[in-house]
Structure formats: structure tokens, C-alpha cells
């Protein structure tokens, strides 16, 4: 099943169509959850065009998550009308959402939604949103987040954003898009490569590595203003930025003292401190969500493996602890938002695949059957892992649920997409 959310919205409201529609990420579901919750999203009543655009985005969001099966509601449903529970039960729906859109006094729209439990015939919530026409998709994502959280118990991520790099001939663009691939905007365009984007914890900034100075330099880029500053430009290479959970510091890899080693700098680029020492390569640092550890890739044991050190550095005196042991190539550690599992890339028989380790039991599961997986990135609710891979010689993004069941493919026509990073929850 293919979703082109933008096409739906464009059909409804012409002003929503960006000029660069062709360059947009399209999301394709390639695998769904085993027990999908049957839910009916009725057509909202009131302002017809707005209502249609809202409900189609809400439906697309819920279906794309792989956790829901959409059931035809049969008839439009206002937020203050009683759902036809018996009919909905016969249609197999466990939950139903209805809504109404009216024009508010200031010309904006007021959208009211009610979600109900069908078997219990009880309301689950009744949120209202005041929004302009340009905030239509954002409002629909909020509604989908509300429904998702009420029905699954965990936060929805439809309102979040993703960053990724698109490579076309002689051109690299650092793009920001909604989690469904729509509304893509270029934060930076360059003739030289851009890699390793990392979101600040508040979602306002991106740290990344740009080669525009003919060598890797770490920048911090404020998305709202478009302003950026150099966070690390020492002699040699500067790379692999990772934010501390409080957003004040960056772990970076510098080569100013020899080979690639781990340092911490303040986000404004001041105050550089070395935090680990090895004779070989240390790279790809990542803080654990509780701020206690820094996970990283090192070849100190002879092959690249994942290790962790106390974030307080050598002062703790405990040194590095090895985390991965199976195989001869385990790289790119990424902690789940709850800190309980570790996604990484593992080489198995010449194939580079996304793996997930339960940190308590050390049980590891390979989540993909592809061969060139890179750069995993957790959704902020931990449910999906976004990563880069290659299909037909072209770079695409893919996402897989942490149980390996739900699978999506995100691609841009005629371009290479790589280096995805899923942004934090929007509150």
C-alpha cells in the first residue's frame, strides 16, 4: 500500500503543495504488525474541504504506523453526535473517532474531535484545536498523536520531524521533513558532502559534519533562524557529533592529537576535553538517555566493536567496558529512548544489517534482511527505528519496528537519501 499524503492534501487544498513535490520522500508500508487494532476514522463534519484533508492525513498516519487497521465508519460523524455503536461493532471497529470543523471568529478553523471505545460505548477523549489553513497537516498529526496515545498507551510520533541528506549530482542537501515525509525543507545545500546530522534534545538545532572546507568540520545549525556556528574545527578531522541529554555539550571525534579520539566540547564550540584514550580508532559516541554513559565504536580490541565509558570520563577510573562480542564488525551504537536496548549495525557474512540488543539480557536480534544498512535512529517513542539502506543501487531510508514486524520504505525519486535522524517529541 502506498501513501502519498501530499497528493491527498494537494487535491483538497492547492496552497499546501510545495513547489518541490517531486523531491519529497514517499512512504511505503512493506510489513505490518500482527495484531492491528481495528479503528474507524469517520469523515468529520462541517467545513468539507478542511475536514476531508484532516481525516485523510489522520488515516494515513495511523495506517502507516502498522499498529492499526482502518475500518470504514459508514457515515460522517460529528464530535458531539453519538456514534452508531452497534453498526460500528458489526463493522469490527474497536474504536471510532469523529469530529467537526467550524470557522472561528478570527477566520481560523476550530476542529473538535471525539474518540470513543466501541465495545464499552464510552468516550476516550474530546480534544479541540484552533488552527489556520496552513496548519492543517500539523493539526491532523496532532489528532493522530492523540488517538495513537489513547489507544496504545505510548506517545505518538506523527508530529515529529526527521532530518536526512539527499545527494543528487554534485549537490548535497540537508533536509528536514515531517515524519510522514511531507513539508520537506532544505536547511543546507552544499557541493561538498554533509554527514552525521544529530538533533538537539529540544528539537531546535542540528549538529552535523560538513566537508565544505575540504575537510570534516562540525557545525551547530539553528533551524528557526538558519544561523549556524562552527562547533569543532581543529587541525585534522572533526566529526560524529552527539548531544548530551541536557543539550549543553557535544561529544565529538577529533584527530588533533593523532588518530580519531573522543572529546567533549560545549555546544558553542568552547572548552574541549578529551574523555577517552586508545591507540586506535574511537568514534561514533552516543550518550545514554540518563546521561551516565557514552557508547562508542572502537577498534581497540582488534576489530570494530561497541564499548561504553562513564560520561564523567577517565575520572571515574573504571575504563571502557565492551558491549558487543559476536562477529567482527559491530558499529554505530544508538540507545533506545528508554535506555534499555541498543540498535547498531552488524556485519554478517559480508552483509551490514541493523541489529537490536536487549542491554539487560544481551540478547541480539537482526531486524532486517538487507545488506547495506547504516545510521539507525530511534523514533522518540522507541517503537520504530529509521535507518539508511540501499535498494537497486540507490540510497533509501527504511524503518522497522523494534519487534521487526512493521516495515516501511522512504524514498526520493531519482536521488540518494542517507543519514537519517529522527527528531525529538514535540510538546
Amino acid at each position: 500500500m502506498k501513501f502519498q499524503g501530499l497528493v491527498i492534501a494537494c487535491a483538497a487544498i492547492a496552497t499546501l503543495c510545495p513547489a518541490t513535490a517531486r523531491a519529497q520522500l514517499t512512504v511505503e508500508i512493506t510489513g505490518a504488525g500482527a495484531n492491528r487494532l481495528p479503528v474507524a476514522i469517520a469523515d468529520f463534519t462541517g467545513e468539507r474541504i478542511v475536514a476531508q484533508a484532516l481525516t485523510s492525513v489522520v488515516r494515513a498516519d495511523l495506517e502507516r504506523s502498522g499498529l492499526f487497521r482502518l475500518v470504514d465508519a459508514g457515515a460522517p460523524l460529528a464530535d458531539n453526535a453519538t456514534p452508531a455503536f452497534d453498526d460500528l461493532k458489526n463493522r469490527g471497529a474497536d474504536a471510532v473517532a469523529g469530529g467537526s470543523v467550524t470557522t472561528a471568529a478570527d477566520g481560523r478553523y476550530e476542529t473538535r474531535v471525539r474518540l470513543s471505545d466501541v465495545p464499552k460505548q464510552a468516550a476516550l477523549g474530546n480534544p479541540a484545536y484552533l488552527h489556520s489553513g496552513t496548519q492543517l497537516r500539523a493539526t491532523a498529526h496532532r489528532i493522530a498523536d492523540f488517538i495513537y496515545e489513547k489507544l496504545t498507551g505510548e506517545p505518538g510520533v506523527f508530529s515529529t520531524r526527521i532530518a536526512y541528506v539527499v545527494k543528487s549530482t554534485g549537490r548535497y542537501e540537508l533536509k528536514i521533513a515531517d515524519a510522514d515525509g511531507s513539508n520537506d525543507q532544505a536547511a543546507l545545500a552544499s557541493r561538498e558532502p554533509i554527514i552525521s546530522p544529530a538533533w538537539s534534545p529540544d528539537g531546535g538545532k542540528l549538529a552535523y559534519v560538513s566537508f565544505e572546507a575540504k575537510k570534516p568540520v562540525v557545525y551547530v545549525h539553528d533551524l528557526a533562524s538558519g544561523r549556524r556556528h562552527v562547533a569543532a574545527n581543529f587541525k585534522g578531522s572533526n566529526s560524529a557529533p552527539a548531544w548530551s541529554p541536557d543539550g549543553k555539550q557535544l561529544a565529538v571525534v577529533l584527530t588533533k592529537d593523532g588518530s580519531s579520539q573522543l572529546y567533549i566540547v560545549n555546544a558553542d564550540g568552547s572548552g574541549v576535553t578529551r574523555i577517552a584514550t586508545s591507540s586506535g580508532i574511537d568514534t561514533e559516541p552516543r550518550w545514554s538517555p540518563d546521561g551516565q554513559f557514552i557508547y562508542f565504536t572502537s577498534d581497540r580490541g582488534g576489530s570494530p566493536q561497541i564499548y561504553r565509558i562513564a560520561a564523567s570520563g577517565g575520572a571515574a577510573g573504571s575504563g571502557a567496558e565492551r558491549v558487543t562480542f559476536e562477529g567482527s564488525y559491530n558499529v554505530t551504537p544508538r540507545l533506545s529512548p528508554d535506555g534499555k536496548s541498543l540498535a547498531f549495525i552488524s556485519r554478517n557474512g559480508g552483509r551490514f544489517q541493523l541489529a537490536l540488543m536487549d542491554l539487560a539480557t544481551k540478547q541480539t536480534q537482526i531486524l532486517t534482511d538487507s545488506a547495506k544498512d547504516e545510521s539507525p535512529s530511534f523514533a522518540p517513542n522507541g517503537r520504530m527505528i529509521l535507518y539508511a539502506t540501499e535498494i537497486g543501487g540507490r540510497g533509501v531510508l527504511a524503518a522497522v519496528s523494534s519487534d521487526g514486524r512493521v516495515k516501511q520504505k522512504l524514498s526520493v525519486q531519482a536521488a540518494d537519501v542517507r543519514e537519517p535522524a529522527w527528531g525529538p517529541l514535540v510538546r
Binding site: 578531522s237 584527530t255 588518530s259 568514534t283
Partner: protein, 184 residues
């Protein structure tokens, strides 16, 4: 004019030297702040046309030799084996020529860009490219270059010269490139 105080042969030598230096923009700053400036700093001189007869002589340590196909200095790439940072014997002669050149021209600066093939993590490949650049740098220092003339950086897998998948192509991408100031 002050130049009148200098004898004419001395002046022509001086002008030649300045012209030689002026043709090469200075090495980039390597401090912690800012993107490097590529603007050549102005050299304040009074110039007058000087005609010279170019000798048909080959000076292995002249700046002209950098672009002379007869000189080993015109070759700039060192290739590495898979998962290796060891400079192979076949590149010793090339690195000896560059090491001697850098020793003879202490104002010349060089950027060494290490590269890796496409397999595996981009950031880990960046670190592998760095190891190759460092290996070239260490060899050049052993052969007479000074540490402060050299900067070793990595482009990782980001700038492949060959983009097909396969060992022939990958071998061309496991590479260290030597660029003199003004060439990057």
C-alpha cells in the same frame, strides 16, 4: 623607490621568488575557530617587468616540479590494501620525493586527505581514512617534512573516485591524496 638600492640581479631574483610565492595561496589557518580563509594575503611590492630566459633544466625541488609530469612530485596518490594503513614499498620513492621537497621548501604546506571504500559505517570509514592520512604524514615527517607543514584529514567514503561496487573500484578509493596549498 627602495628597490633602486638593490642591484639589478638581486632584484630579479627577489621578484622571481616573490612571484613563485605569490602563485601559491598561503596555507589555511588551522585554529579552532571559523572556516578556513582561502583569500591570499596581499604582499606589498613594487613590480616591474623582468624578462628571463627559462633554463631547460630540471630542479627536483622547484615549485614548478609539482606540476611537471617528468617529476615524481606530480604524482599525489598513495593506495592502501583492504583494512590496512601500511604505506606499501612501491610508494616509498614517491613519498621520499615529497618529503625532500617539503624539507627544501619549508614554507610549503600540504593537506593529506585520506579516503576509504564504501563498505560499512560512514563515521568509522572517516576514521579509517584518517589513519591512512596519518600514515602518509608520518612517512613524510620521517623523510624530512616538518610536522607543522602537514595536516592529515579524512574524507572517509564521501569522495570516491570510482563509484561502482567491486574490489577494482574499492581499491582506487582506499587512498591518501597529497594536496599542496592552493590546490584544495
Amino acid at each position: 623607490m627602495r628597490a633602486r638600492l638593490i642591484s639589478l640581479p638581486a632584484l630579479s631574483v627577489l621578484t622571481l621568488l616573490l612571484a613563485a610565492c605569490g602563485s601559491q595561496p598561503p596555507a589555511p589557518e588551522q585554529g579552532a575557530a571559523g572556516v578556513e580563509s582561502r583569500t591570499p594575503s596581499a604582499v606589498k611590492v613594487d613590480t616591474s617587468p623582468v624578462t628571463t630566459v627559462q633554463p631547460d633544466r630540471f630542479d627536483p625541488n622547484s615549485i614548478a616540479a609539482l606540476k611537471d609530469p617528468r617529476s615524481p612530485l606530480s604524482k599525489r596518490s598513495v593506495y592502501f590494501d583492504y583494512d590496512s594503513y601500511v604505506v606499501k614499498d612501491e610508494f616509498q620513492a614517491l613519498l621520499t620525493a615529497h618529503g625532500k621537497f617539503l624539507a627544501a621548501n619549508p614554507k610549503m604546506k600540504m593537506l593529506i586527505q585520506g579516503n576509504a571504500d564504501e563498505r560499512g559505517s560512514r563515521e568509522y570509514n572517516l576514521a579509517l581514512g584518517q589513519k591512512r592520512a596519518e600514515a602518509v604524514k608520518k612517512t613524510l615527517v620521517l623523510l624530512g617534512a616538518r610536522e607543522d607543514q602537514l595536516e592529515a584529514v579524512s574524507l572517509g567514503e564521501e569522495k570516491p573516485v570510482c563509484t561502482e561496487s567491486g574490489e577494482d573500484c574499492w581499491a582506487k578509493n582506499r587512498r591518501g591524496d597529497m594536496l599542496y596549498a592552493g590546490e584544495f
